[in-house]
């Protein structure tokens, strides 16, 4: 008697098929209203040579099968509502459904962006209120909500810096970023037409002051910094650094990706930063959506304000005690101009504002406390186990909301790389930390638990890491060939790059 043993999980057995491959001629989901107007031949309306001859090969498929297709493939994703997702630098905190509910109200969801401000007062007031809250949190008085995400905010910040200097008749060419900075920082620098110059990191994980001083010339437009930085540690020398950069007439840009560590505890403005971006999809609970949408508002100081993007939301006090009114200000002569269409990712603003109302000022401060508590607790738990030996923390000090481990000992002593550990974690039902970033840490694992994780999940994660290292002590192959239970196993990325197949072939 030979009973079938499981060689594949059901999902593994269910091979990927795209919706285009499920198409069958003549099938459809949509039923459209008839035009209700004269059925004139298209050629009468548009010159024939401007008309399309063959409609695009979109799928032909019924509604039930569309729903099944996307429901089924959705289960091939790991998601935050399923389990622990300590993806460092990304602040994978809970996404409240309340925010989805209020964003879906037709007064928000079906409001046309070109609606006359007179008839969009609720939306403009919401944006204004969000601006006020962000200004208070960042410690900088002026806010533009326009940037669509963090990197967009970075670009904005650099263009603001350029405009600021140009306004003073200056042209600068360099922007300093620490070697620990996120890839978007140097990429934004280049896109903004500057040259990116690295500054070194000291033994405490902060910026090497002497190196900064050495590179801080009159040609330096800006210093871009994350604080706490991507090592999860707070750079205590920030005030001195600000003096140095301001001393040579440069601006200080704050990459707000790590704001979740300090909300209500410390403010970039008070640290001396001129420009800050905030990732609404990190600190303020906008769902990450598989890679967006996001929001990257910027807060700036008085001297930068004149250059903010157009349009800006403005508030007019009501004449003698009447309600204030809100409007869009396009007449900003020194503005760098638009960064995108219309007023920004309003739907994201609604969610983030609802989140702020839910937590309130104290709640935000407490969220940061718990985020820092969770990170420190998880690190302490890890240290006690095999991670202490094989995955030591890169800079040995108390972290803030996240910390970076180095997989170098594991690689040398066990022959398993950070990648292998990450892949093996998948079999244990965890999303791995951010890996191989920041670059200056060998085999880096960047762990950010966030405040919304209960302690039990941190314990389970620490235990899983320990189990994986224990396995590796006896047989490194287990990790090296992991994962085993995921919908697919390790994928051939080289093949994907060599002969890129980037769309479904149709025939």
């Amino acid at each position: 008697m030979t009973l079938p043993t499981i060689t594949e999980t059901p999902m593994q057995a269910d091979r990927a098929v795209t919706i285009f491959e499920k198409s069958k001629e003549g099938r459809r989901a949509a039923v459209l209203p008839d035009a209700g107007v004269p059925e004139r031949p298209l050629e009468e309306l548009i010159p024939e040579r401007l008309l399309r001859t063959e409609p695009p090969w979109l799928p032909e498929i019924s509604e039930p099968e569309i729903v099944r297709h996307y429901n089924r493939i959705s289960r091939r994703n790991f998601d935050l509502d399923t389990g622990f997702y300590p993806l460092g630098s990304c602040t994978m905190k809970h996404n409240p459904r309340l925010n989805e509910r209020v964003a879906a109200l037709s007064g928000h969801a079906r409001l046309h962006p070109a609606q006359d401000p007179k008839r969009a007062q609720g939306a403009l007031e919401l944006m204004w209120l969000l601006q006020q809250a962000l200004a208070e949190i960042c410690g900088l008085p002026h806010v533009s909500l326009q940037p669509s995400a963090g990197s967009h905010g970075e670009l904005a910040g650099l263009l603001l810096t350029r405009a600021y200097h140009a306004d003073g008749g200056e042209q600068r060419s360099k922007v300093l970023t620490p070697d620990t900075s996120h890839g978007t920082n140097p990429a934004s620098v280049t896109m903004a037409g500057y040259e990116a110059v690295k500054v070194a990191t000291n033994e405490r994980g902060g910026v090497e002051i002497d190196d900064l001083r050495a590179k801080a010339s009159e040609d330096v437009a800006c210093l871009m910094l994350t604080n706490p930085n991507t090592l999860g540690v707070f750079d205590e020398n920030i005030t001195e650094m600000a003096e140095i950069v301001h001393g040579v007439g440069g601006t200080l840009y704050y990459d707000g990706a790590n704001l979740n560590a300090i909300m209500g505890h410390s403010r970039p403005g008070d640290m001396g930063f001129d420009i800050v971006h905030v990732n609404l999809h990190k600190s303020f609970s906008q769902p990450h959506g598989g890679g967006g949408p996001g929001g990257g508002p910027i807060a700036v100081s008085d001297r930068i304000e004149p250059f903010l993007p157009r349009p800006q939301v403005m508030r007019r006090d009501g004449a003698n005690g009447a309600e204030p009114t809100f409007d869009l200000d396009f007449e900003r002569s020194k503005s760098i101009g638009r960064l995108r269409g219309f007023q920004g990712n309003f739907g994201v603003f609604v969610r983030s504002y609802a989140y702020m109302l839910s937590l309130g000022g104290d709640g935000l401060a407490e969220a940061s406390e718990t985020a820092v508590l969770n990170a420190n607790y998880l690190l302490a738990r890890l240290r006690k186990g095999r991670a202490g030996r094989y995955l030591p923390v890169a800079f040995d000090r108390l972290p803030m909301h996240e910390f970076v481990l180095s997989g170098k000992p594991a690689k040398v002593e066990l022959g398993v790389q950070t990648l292998d550990i990450a892949k093996r974690l998948l079999d244990f039902g965890f999303h791995p930390p951010t890996v191989y970033f920041p670059l200056l840490v060998d085999e880096a694992l960047m762990v950010e638990p966030t405040e919304t994780e209960p302690r039990e999940n941190l314990d389970a994660f620490a235990d899983a890491i320990d189990r994986i290292l224990e396995e590796a002590e006896s047989d490194p192959e287990i990790a090296k060939q992991a994962p085993y239970t995921t919908p697919v196993r390790r994928l051939d990325e080289v093949k994907a790059n060599r002969q890129p197949v980037v769309r479904q072939a149709l025939d």
């Binding site: 140097p186 967006g292 269409g341 820092v372």
Partner: protein
């Protein structure tokens, strides 16, 4: 214990003990004392869910949305019907809450969606390569400029005035950074001035930017206009409306090197302007210069079909200052909405919708053009939007219409002073013949009341 967290006082005590510190404050001591805020944030206290709902509902009440008004506003975003399955699927935790698919083994759902999205946009634009979701329309135009500079080594842009004002302004904003000069070519009778364009393009030109239908709704002869670009080795960058490509000749068949645009009409609600998605398609040769994420097909260790983020050496997290773009978080969820909407329409429905728009728009244009005191701003062919001239102050007419529950259209004067009496009217499948007639009657009435002159439109 705050909202959404779990740490009770007991938890805190045990956790602090494990860490070996006496209080949470100690953990914040690495922040120099002078830099600590030392006071509560000046924000209101937290509210219960019902109260928050109440506050947001009250704000929403004060917006005249397309549920309450009959909306003829367009200008780049349109009140199309978003099928219910789009919300049902995009709201699934599995799509809503993960991040960028850095770990492909547990992100096959999102990666396959990207792959399907790329296929769909490639089909629409008739260009082989597609990036998976940039921010939105105008910034995508600016990103195309960045690609053109890299591809041609030139830095001069020739831009039609028919390109969306937001796109032109965004392009200028970016250009101030990466350094490019903009030359604008005017509009004649609703269409890009072909002669002026030909003159403007030269050997220094990195790219020619066109939009079709253009901002005034007119369908441009992209192929003819693009000839100048070809001739001088400049890239032809075409912004297009993804809801019109079932009927209009796609950019890829008009010689476009890059097609970009605003994805909102596909499965995304208006949301007062965002979030939506931008699309970016190009010819093969530009594949390694594309901005944003691209999913590619491959196999796993057991030869199972799978998908990964590919050509990542283009991207900031690998190449840093040498990256082809700085974009990281984009609009993946909005792109999913787009691909679901397209699957729901299907090959036939997508075409039929395009035809519906053409016919209703033709009807509306004739009907409104025949109204006393109203005339066509141009006679060029249009697809889903058209421009009128009003013999009355546009702002006041719009106010009167709003009082009657109609958002009559987009006033052109702000961005086109030369059309200070211009009104842009957009049509979607949600705008019925009855609503169009209602708009006509309302305009008839209001324009008469507010007429600035007695000269009436002489029937052509």
């Amino acid at each position: 214990m705050t909202r959404y967290t779990s740490a009770t006082d007991a938890d805190r005590a045990e956790m602090l003990a494990e860490i070996g510190v006496g209080s949470v404050d100690e953990l914040f001591e690495q922040i120099p004392e002078p830099l600590r805020l030392g006071r509560p944030l000046e924000l209101a206290d937290g509210l219960g869910e019902n109260e928050v709902f109440g506050r947001l509902a009250a704000l929403a009440e004060r917006n005249a949305d397309a549920e309450r008004e009959i909306c003829f506003l367009g200008a780049g975003m349109y009140d199309h019907y978003v099928p219910a399955i789009v919300d049902a699927i995009t709201q699934r935790s599995e799509f809503l809450t993960p991040y960028t698919p850095y770990q492909p083994e547990i992100s096959q759902g999102g990666l396959q969606v990207m792959f399907e999205f790329q296929t769909a946009m490639s089909e629409l634009t008739a260009l082989p390569v597609s990036s998976a979701g940039l921010y939105e329309g105008p910034s995508t135009v600016a990103s195309a400029g960045y690609l053109a500079i890299g591809a041609t080594g030139r830095s001069r842009f020739v831009v039609s005035r028919g390109v969306h004002p937001h796109s032109r302004e965004t392009l200028a904003t970016y250009a101030a950074g990466y350094g490019a000069e903009l030359v604008e070519v005017g509009i004649e009778d609703g269409l890009t001035d072909a002669a002026a364009l030909a003159d403007a393009v030269d050997g220094e030109t990195a790219a020619v930017f066109l939009q079709s239908p253009n901002f005034l709704g007119a369908v441009e002869d992209v192929e003819a206009l693009g000839a100048a670009a070809k001739e001088h080795g400049a890239l032809l960058i075409v912004a297009c409306d993804p809801m019109t490509l079932g009927v209009l000749k796609p950019p890829g068949e008009c010689g476009a090197d890059v097609a970009v645009g605003e994805g909102q009409p596909l499965g995304n609600r208006l949301d007062f302007g965002g979030p939506s998605f931008g699309f970016f398609c190009a010819t093969e040769e530009h594949i390694r210069r594309m901005p944003g994420r691209i999913a590619g097909e491959t196999v796993d260790a057991d030869e199972r079909r799978g998908f990964v983020l590919t050509l990542q050496t283009r991207e900031q997290h690998i190449r840093r200052e040498k990256a082809t773009h700085n974009i990281c978080t984009a609009q993946a969820l909005n792109a999913l909405g787009g691909v679901i909407h397209l699957a729901w329409l299907g090959r036939q429905g997508y075409r039929e919708l395009g035809e519906l728009l053409l016919r209703r728009t033709a009807y509306a244009r004739e009907r409104l053009g025949a109204v006393g005191g109203v005339e066509l701003l141009h006679e060029a062919p249009v697809a889903r939007e058209f421009a009128l001239r009003l013999d009355a102050p546009v702002a006041e007419v719009l106010d009167r219409c709003a009082e009657r529950g109609i958002a009559a259209g987009y006033p052109l004067g702000h961005e086109y002073p030369e059309y200070e009496d211009g009104l842009l009217v957009a049509i979607t499948e949600r705008r019925s013949k009855e609503q169009i007639d209602q708009l006509a009657e309302t305009l008839e009435e209001t324009v008469q009341q507010l007429a600035t002159s007695d000269q009436r439109r002489v029937p052509a």
